[in-house]
């Protein structure tokens, strides 16, 4: 039996784990992974809503799934850019610790 609320709770938990990872971890690689977690939490919420509220034959029948695919594509692009930045940062400063990357300090 599919429970929307359970799916949403799961989604929220994963999202919070992602937030925690983004805010608290020092390794940029882990931060990027946590970002993926947040995106996938949102994907889960989207497909869950899609399953419950979509009506056959109506416009937007597959909107939830399509949105999730869209987010996956964006996430892939984001990961590619993020990882290449990471590579450049490593080459330039030999560190991927966010605490060391504070050149914008005013």
């Amino acid at each position: 039996m599919f429970s929307l609320s359970a799916a949403l709770y799961l989604s929220a938990i994963i999202f919070c784990i992602g937030i925690y990872g983004v805010l608290a971890r020092r390794n940029i690689l882990v931060v990027l992974m946590s970002l993926e977690l947040m995106l996938n939490a949102v994907n889960l919420a989207l497909v869950s809503f899609g399953r419950v509220y979509a009506q056959a034959g109506q416009p937007g029948e597959h909107a939830g799934q399509i949105f999730a695919l869209m987010v996956l594509a964006v996430a892939a692009a984001e990961a590619a850019i993020g990882l290449s930045l990471l590579l450049v940062i490593w080459r330039k400063w030999r560190t991927i610790d966010v605490r060391d990357l504070c050149r914008m300090n005013g």
Partner: protein, 688 residues
């Protein structure tokens, strides 16, 4: 009458300035010397031609001759278009030159004596590092002086007036490596500025009330009854101490003259100007520039004659300056300082003559003074040159044998300034003293015949100038005695090396001696068998119509003459008695009496005038410092306060920018939360 040669008189020295100033360093001292001397000599030749033309026309009485003019170019010309499209000139100051009797004689003096001094400088300045710079300045000075003299409007005259002031500043501070020389130059410039301000104001008044600044038109406007009536109303509101506009123009012009011609209260710069090279002192601070104040008065003679108040002030200032400067000169030990105060004193004489109404006598004294004072300065320069720049007369003495020609020429110059007949100074000084005598003892009818107005307190002023005549003879012979007579007080190591300089120096001295001896014959008065040639030629003198008062006049003339010669001889005699043969009589006399000591200290301290001026300047400086402090307080509270506030805010706010990425993300996240909260709970109708 148009004459296209006039422009060459100032242009030749100006071209010399350009050539020497721009290329002098590369062309070498020989070429610089040639150009520098050729320029004023060329100008002199042109001036002789101009003078000759004027002389020919002035002798021919059939036509009215107003001098030669040349309109070089329109300098400032403002017009406005009135109703009906007619253009009307609002203000016009062309670059136009005017040569009449007065200015042509002045040009001859400037270029003639100027040429001699240029030649003298070639030897005097030999080997100086800035040889070309010196001659460039000297040529520029000559050019500006000639513009001043030849200008036919007041604005162009003012260009020359400022230009000679500039050159004077540059040449006083010529050896500017010594801070004292540079300071002396600044003092001269600043003091002169006070006077220049008067000339500017006078020019404004001329334009405002007479509608013109052309010298001849100004003089024509004064005799215009309608203009005169209009101007009399100028002072009726009591704002201007009851003086009318003409009084003010004359008074302000005289203020300018006191600056340039070193009169009380602005004479203090001239003695300091002796910091410049000696030829400069001879040319600028004795023969030419300092006489431009007298020239200005002579050029605008009718204007000054119109203002009785100003004339009385001029007479008083002149007489006081003559006496005070002579008193100071008596105790000076620097040979050039004696001559500087002597110059101030002689200029005072000239202004006294102007104040008394005897413009021709004043201008005559300008001419003779140019000769003998240039001679005296160049003679002192010869001594200084021979003594390796020693100027203190206490370390001279007995130079008669080593510098025989300098001694002879200097002695003749001294006799000339002392007024010994028949040398130049005798005639001109006698004429001035006679003017004072006539003002004091002459009947109103006689004054009327001479076209002069009675000056109040003339007797007092006359007495002062007679006393000055004696003092002049005294201090000049004192300087001769200290320099040339008696035992040698020259330092041992120098003593063997002192010798006559020759080169150009001694020949120039000889040439000027001839002038100093003979210049007096230019204007021999009628009662001595002459015809007052110079006075008539310059248009400053008109033969008095004495009628049956001839006898009285003649006896007065002779009394004045005998008196002035006697006073001069008395001065000479007492100087020889006190200083001759190495008898330090005066020194012991002064030492013994407390009054004498006090007088001596007053005189050698220049009557504390400079100290008084320093005090004034100190007060002004204090006020300025107070204002500065006030302004700084305001700036600190307002401007600096704003700056501190901005900087403080910035310093505090920049702590937000940690550069720590998670903190940005946290902020971002919190922002999103706030936004969501806002949308969900506060904007309730957002969905509908």
């Amino acid at each position: 009458m148009e004459n296209s040669n006039l422009i060459w008189i100032p242009l030749l020295p100006f071209l010399g300035f350009l050539l020497n100033g721009l290329l002098g360093k590369r062309l070498g001292p020989k070429f610089v010397a040639f150009v520098a001397a050729a320029a004023p000599i060329g100008a002199f030749l042109v001036a002789v031609g101009v003078w000759n033309t004027i002389r020919a026309h002035a002798g021919d009485h059939s036509e009215h001759f107003a001098g030669l003019t040349q309109h070089v170019f329109d300098w400032i010309h403002l017009t406005k278009t009135g109703a009906g499209g007619a253009t009307e000139t609002v203000f016009s100051a062309p670059f136009a030159l005017l040569a009449d009797g007065l200015s042509s004689v002045m040009c001859l003096v400037i270029t003639g004596i100027g040429s001699l001094i240029h030649l003298y400088s070639i030897t005097y300045m030999k080997g100086d590092r800035s040889f070309h710079r010196f001659f460039a300045y000297l040529n520029l000075f000559t050019a500006f002086m000639l513009i001043l003299v030849l200008a036919d409007n007041l604005l162009l005259l003012f260009v020359g007036w400022e230009g000679v002031g500039l050159c004077s500043y540059l040449l006083i501070g010529f050896w500017f490596e010594d801070a004292g020389n540079a300071k002396a130059g600044q003092k001269a410039f600043v003091v002169n500025r006070i006077g220049d301000f008067g000339v500017l104001l006078a020019m404004f008044l001329c334009h405002q009330y007479l509608g013109t600044i052309d010298t001849r038109e100004v003089l024509a406007a004064i005799s215009n009854a309608e203009v005169t009536t209009r101007m009399q109303g100028f002072g009726t509101d009591g704002l201007f101490w009851g003086l009318n506009c003409i009084d003010w123009i004359a008074l302000l012009l005289f203020l300018g003259a006191t600056g340039k011609s070193a009169q009380i209260p602005l004479y203090v710069w001239l003695p300091d100007a002796m910091a410049g090279p000696t030829p400069v002192s001879a040319l600028i601070h004795a023969a030419t520039m300092v006489t431009s104040g007298i020239y200005l008065c002579c050029r605008l003679m009718p204007l000054f004659q119109e203002s009785h108040t100003t004339m009385a002030i001029i007479a008083g200032v002149g007489a006081c300056t003559a006496l005070v400067a002579a008193l100071i000169a008596m105790s000076q030990n620097d040979i050039k300082k004696v001559l500087a105060y002597s110059t101030v004193s002689q200029l005072g004489y000239m202004f006294f003559a102007i104040g008394m109404g005897f413009f021709a006598a004043a201008f005559f004294h300008v001419v003779t003074h140019a000769f003998f004072k240039a001679l005296l300065f160049l003679g002192s320069g010869s001594v200084i040159h021979a003594m390796h720049h020693e100027q203190d007369m206490r370390r001279m003495g007995g130079l008669r044998k080593q510098l025989p020609w300098t001694y002879r020429t200097y002695l003749i110059g001294t006799l000339a300034i002392a007024g010994v007949p028949p040398l130049a100074g005798f005639f001109s000084k006698d004429e001035i003293l006679f003017g004072g005598y006539l003002q004091t003892f002459g009947s109103p009818e006689l004054l009327e015949a001479y076209h002069v107005h009675h000056v109040p307190a003339a007797g007092l002023f006359w007495g002062m100038t007679v006393l000055t005549a004696g003092l002049t003879a005294f201090y000049m012979f004192r300087s001769v005695a200290m320099t040339f007579w008696g035992e040698s007080r020259v330092e041992e190591k120098l003593r063997g090396h002192v010798h006559e300089p020759w080169g150009w120096i001694t020949p120039v001295l000889l040439a000027l001696t001839v002038g100093a001896a003979l210049a007096g014959f230019l204007n021999v008065p009628h009662f001595l068998g002459g015809h007052s040639v110079l006075g008539h030629f310059t248009g400053l003198h008109h033969a008095p119509e004495v009628g049956d008062m001839k006898g009285t006049l003649k006896s007065m003339e002779w009394t004045s003459l005998v008196l002035s010669v006697l006073v001069g001889l008395l001065g000479i005699g007492s100087a020889i008695f006190l200083y001759g043969k190495g008898r330090p009589v005066l020194a012991s006399l002064v030492e013994k009496s407390p009054v004498g000591r006090r007088l001596q200290s007053a005189s050698s301290n220049l009557f504390w005038v400079d100290d008084f001026y320093l005090l004034l300047v100190g007060v002004l400086n204090g006020i300025a410092a107070g204002c500065q402090m006030l302004i700084e307080v305001i700036i600190q509270t307002l401007v600096d306060g704003t700056a501190y506030l901005t900087r403080g805010t910035g310093n505090w706010a920049r702590r937000i920018q940690t550069g720590f990425i998670p903190s940005y993300l946290l902020t971002f996240g919190l922002g999103v939360l706030v936004l969501v909260f806002f949308l969900l709970f506060l904007v309730k109708d957002a969905g509908s």
